[in-house]
């Protein structure tokens, strides 16, 4: 079976939203800044709830923030 992993556009979306800082996003999402950093570096896949919360903060659908792609 082909391996997949979750990637995200959080970094891009932050800059499109008035250069929102990692700290601001973390506070709005109710997580630590380290978790945001880990997600941006694809070192952590968030729970479904946190993924929806982040999409809601940016005001975009979930699939615009996260995508499920085959591993290279």
């Amino acid at each position: 079976m082909e391996k997949y992993h979750i990637t995200n556009n959080i970094r891009k979306l932050r800059f499109e939203h008035g250069e929102m800082t990692q700290k601001d996003l973390a506070e709005k999402a109710g997580v630590t800044r380290q978790t945001i950093i880990a997600m941006e570096q694809d070192k952590y896949s968030p729970s479904l709830e946190l993924a929806f919360r982040i999409a809601l903060i940016f005001g975009v659908p979930l699939e615009e923030v996260f995508s499920y792609e085959p591993e290279k």
Partner: protein
């Protein structure tokens, strides 16, 4: 480094200190002659109390010091938030610790089966607890650094 990572480092340091103390004490017992049950069981109690005390005191001191440094550097209060990633890391590393501890416990039982005195088994049992704790801390640090 987040508040959680700092407390893991403190926990690792305290586990290593306790392991060092345990090893030194055990070495003294062996040099003094055959193991005495009262001494071994007293050491058990001391080790358990030490593990709790050193961890608590270490964490309190580390939190105070890091809060003061954070306040002086950035004029912001240190964030003591624990989120879902911290909890997942904690659970995964606890699973790793249980695996290591279980293997060590099985080995201590094996030592008893192979004819070693019961006191050796008891020493290996407490050692398995400390080794499991160290492995848990290292697992957490690796997962914080490399992701999972």
């Amino acid at each position: 480094m987040s508040y959680k990572q700092k407390s893991v480092v403190i926990s690792l340091a305290s586990h290593i200190l306790v392991l060092a103390y345990f090893s030194i004490k055990l070495n003294q017992f062996y040099k003094a002659g055959p193991l005495v049950p009262s001494q071994v069981f007293r050491l058990w109690g001391v080790i358990i109390v030490l593990m709790i005390l050193v961890n608590i005191v270490g964490n309190i001191i580390a939190n105070i010091v890091s809060s003061v440094i954070q306040m002086a550097r950035t004029n912001e209060v240190e964030d003591f938030v624990e989120d879902e990633r911290d909890k997942v890391i904690e659970l995964k590393s606890a699973r790793n610790a249980y695996i290591v501890s279980s293997i060590c416990v099985a080995l201590s039982m094996l030592a008893f089966v192979l004819g070693q005195p019961a006191l050796v088994m008891f020493n290996l049992l407490i050692l398995s607890g400390i080794v499991g704790g160290i492995f848990e801390d290292i697992s957490q640090l690796v997962m914080y650094r490399k992701g999972f």
